[in-house]
């Protein structure tokens, strides 16, 4: 039973802002709605960017994707700044206690030299991959259109900086804060054969101009493959081979990936559902970047895991693509 007590003199004049009312009707709005919809300026810009004079300051034409309403990209997590930082603060609290526990109990002792070497060779260099993901999501946030997607891209970008910093801390735990493991991991990233495809692909993404294509390349394709290979398959391998404690240090990434995937899939689905033209465009981008990413990651997957690992990761990605409405 709900009782509503009304005081005649303190009746609100309206429930929410006019643009929110136009979208959702005359009723109290959520904080996500008020913080998100129609907040970005859309018209009557004063000057063209000196750095891109062919475009308006905020311009939907910075991608080939066409949306009738850019606010169709609702974030299923309904993150605005406040909910975003509070959610991440909870995750970091757990991570912090995991890292503290690992260091206090000196769990590194229990890892063989060979296992430590594997972590430095396969896991720690991913901090550079995460750094690229940071750049690419910032690109989308600054070039994209409509607060619904640009704010979520910003959160993703900052998350990736956080993950790069966690990966760096794993290196520092292994090298006793000397930075040697980070240096070694970087030298693999810069010159080991297994990493060169990934590095070349990362560099290529940072010169890609269409921001939604970049979202497909980074957040859909590359992330799906890398996270499955590393935080799912390699994690399982570590667990079977005496390295289960490493999972304490990558739990953040696993939780984060689950959270982020929910948003990525919702964006993809909305973009596909918009039009046949979008679907065709997205299929083209997915095909191109999947081909590149598979070729780039294969040497790493084979050495880190086995010959089947890449196919498993691709199968997981394909399942998500089908669910989003692509290739059918």
């Amino acid at each position: 039973m709900s009782i509503e007590i009304k005081t005649a003199t303190l009746e609100p004049v309206r429930n929410t802002f006019a643009h929110i009312e136009r979208r959702f009707g005359d009723k109290p709005a959520t904080r996500y709605q008020e913080a998100t919809y129609d907040v970005q300026s859309e018209k009557y810009f004063h000057y063209r960017p000196l750095w891109q004079p062919e475009m308006e300051l905020n311009d939907p034409r910075r991608t080939a994707l066409v949306m009738e309403d850019w606010y169709a990209f609702k974030d299923p997590r309904q993150f605005y700044y406040g909910t975003y930082v509070q959610q991440r603060a909870k995750m970091q609290e757990v991570a912090e206690s995991n890292y503290a526990f690992f260091e206090k109990r000196d769990l590194k002792r229990l890892l063989s030299d060979d296992l430590q070497q594997k972590v430095i060779r396969y896991l720690v260099p991913l901090r550079h991959f995460e750094h690229t993901a940071n750049l690419n999501n910032m690109y989308g946030s600054s070039q994209g259109y409509g607060t619904a997607i640009t704010q979520a891209l910003l959160y993703d970008g900052m998350d990736r900086l956080g993950i790069a910093q966690y990966l760096s801390r794993i290196g520092l735990i292994l090298d006793g804060n000397s930075g040697d493991a980070l240096g070694e991991a970087k030298s693999y990233w810069m010159s080991e054969e297994i990493w060169q495809g990934v590095r070349a692909l990362c560099e290529e993404t940072t010169v890609t101009k269409d921001w939604f294509e970049l979202f497909i390349a980074q957040d859909v394709v590359m992330d799906a493959l890398v996270y499955d290979l590393v935080y799912n398959q390699f994690d399982a391998w570590l667990a079977d081979n005496g390295g289960q404690d490493i999972s304490m240090l990558t739990e953040f990434m696993q939780l984060w990936n689950k959270d982020n995937t929910r948003w990525v899939d919702a964006v993809l689905k909305a973009a596909v559902a918009e039009s046949a033209e979008n679907k065709a465009l997205l299929e083209g981008w997915v095909t191109t970047w999947k081909e590149k990413a598979v070729a780039a990651l294969k040497p790493l997957a084979e050495e880190m895991l086995d010959a089947e690992a890449m196919d498993k990761a691709v199968a997981a990605l394909d399942k998500r693509l089908t669910k989003a409405g692509l290739f059918k």
Partner: protein, 500 residues
């Protein structure tokens, strides 16, 4: 082996600064294409000193703590109908200006710092900009949430986003940020990161917010001070940027000085509206605009420029004019809004006798001589039932887009007009400062979307002003605009308080 303890500086460097690498496969210039065109010379990004060393985990932790506190206050504010606690309903009009004029700038700041946070080639500078970008998004969203409750009980908030893109006086703040964001990344940093954040936002967020507290508005003071707690990081970034540019190459000094001249002038013009909010729209007074200006601009800014003198940087051009303006601009601006109160999205009024006396006391050199007589006249007309509204549309300055309301500082009875000709067209300005800015970049400023020109060209509907206000601006004519006296806001307030 016991791990050695890392100090905060080394730790931050290891966690962040080494993430980037020298490209081998793609052209790095293509990945960071906007660094050269402004003429700024960067020889070594690794010389960048991190202005603050907050890793993301710590950022989430502290920011979540701030947000938790802030939203607890918003909830309590709404549950207790705390809008009833403001000193006087006139006060609410100041925060209408805030939501329609300032909050959208926070959004543009988010976008601008996201851009530099992607485009700078040095990872240290990038990460600092990214964090500021995220903070700025926080500010716009917490402001919307703080005002959300006021919007339910007062008029003039409901179309803030639509209005910001269109309304004549809101093109002043909008064009200011559009100007900064359309500039190159280094100019943006000097414009917003340094000039605006380091010196000018203090005037809005410190004395004005203290004023909000003094007028019983807990929601606004809480978001204001909570936002300012991020601002301390932003100020440090602003100062680091300028020092970095000046230390990188001596050729940068002249470019940076030119930007300082431009953006301090533009900033002081923009703050005219804050001056008016401080002196006329806060029923309980904390300090006058002039006093705030002396503390936060002259004293704090003066110390800053003394510090920068060792690089060959001097005080911004026209500082001596700016110094004189503190005696005048709040009065000139409020008078302009009072006389154009039919076309504003908030209410205007004649100051009470007590307030007029306060202004006389705070502005002994100017108020009684130039401004009080106008208000005495307005009072007489109002008493006769002849509340005065100007019929015509004001002429706007092509650069700052403020109506021609400023006077010559040596003769406050004389409106200041300047003009220049470019490609056979004549352009009008409020000051030498604005004219200089135009003449330095005419191809940029001829693009200005001047609201009054647009109305005359038929681009905003009409032709009646009333139709433009209601159909193009989405103002509720007769409700959002006009005098505070007799407004629905005032009537409701009296009902709530049980006074006739």
């Amino acid at each position: 082996m016991a791990a050695k303890k890392l100090n905060i500086k080394d730790k931050y460097r290891l966690l962040t600064r080494d993430l980037d690498w020298e490209y081998s496969y793609a052209d790095r210039k293509e990945a960071f294409p906007y660094e050269d065109f402004e003429g700024i010379k960067i020889t070594d990004w690794s010389k960048w000193e991190d202005p603050f060393r907050l890793t993301m985990d710590t950022y989430w932790k502290y920011q979540a703590e701030k947000e938790k506190k802030l939203y607890a206050i918003f909830d309590a504010f709404a549950q207790n109908n705390a809008h009833m606690n403001v000193s006087d309903p006139r006060y609410v009009n100041a925060i209408k200006i805030f939501l329609t004029g300032v909050s959208p700038l926070e959004y543009q700041a988010y976008q601008g710092f996201a851009h530099t946070g992607r485009q700078f080639g040095g990872v240290g500078a990038r990460v600092a900009c990214q964090m500021q970008s995220l903070d700025e998004l926080r500010h716009v969203q917490t402001q919307i949430h703080a005002m959300s409750h006021f919007n339910k009980f007062f008029d003039g908030f409901q179309e803030y986003s639509h209005m910001h893109d269109r309304v004549w006086y809101l093109s002043v703040p909008k064009s200011f940020f559009n100007d900064a964001r359309t500039a190159g990344p280094f100019e943006f940093m000097i414009a917003i990161g340094f000039s605006f954040e380091y010196v000018l936002t203090n005037l809005l967020f410190v004395p004005f917010m203290s004023g909000a507290a003094h007028n019983g508005d807990m929601a606004t003071v809480t978001f204001g001070f909570s936002a300012q707690s991020d601002e301390a990081r932003h100020m440090t970034l602003g100062l680091e940027v300028i020092k970095f540019l000046l230390e990188q190459h001596e050729d940068n000094v002249e470019i940076v000085q030119k930007w300082i001249d431009k953006w301090f002038w533009r900033g002081s013009r923009l703050l005219t509206i804050v001056a008016m909010m401080m002196d006329y729209m806060l029923p309980n007074k904390v300090m006058s605009w002039k006093e705030a200006w002396e503390v936060y601009f002259e004293e704090a800014g003066g110390a800053l420029f003394k510090d920068l003198a060792r690089y060959g940087i001097r005080m911004p051009k026209y500082s001596e004019i700016i110094e004189k303006e503190k005696e005048h601009i709040s009065h000139q601006a409020w008078w302009t809004f009072y006389t154009h109160g039919h076309a504003a999205g908030f209410h205007t009024w004649i100051p009470t006798d007590e307030e007029l006396d306060w202004l006389s006391e705070k502005y002994p050199e100017t108020f009684d001589k130039y401004y009080r007589p106008r208000w005495e006249l307005a009072k007489e007309m109002e008493a006769k039932g002849e509340r005065f509204y100007t019929k015509g549309l004001p002429q706007l300055c092509t650069t700052c887009q403020i109506p021609m309301l400023f006077t010559e500082m040596d003769d406050p009875t004389q409106t200041s007009y300047r003009d220049t000709t470019y490609n056979g067209e004549r352009y009008h300005f409020c000051s030498d400062g604005c004219k200089d800015i135009f003449e330095d970049e005419p191809e940029k400023f001829v693009q200005s979307w001047l609201p009054v020109h647009q109305i005359f060209q038929g681009n905003c509907g009409g032709p009646d002003v009333g139709d433009i206000l209601s159909d193009f601006y989405h103002m509720n004519v007769g409700t959002d605009n006009m005098d505070m006296k007799g407004s629905p806001d005032e009537l409701r307030w009296k009902q709530w308080k049980g006074v006739a």
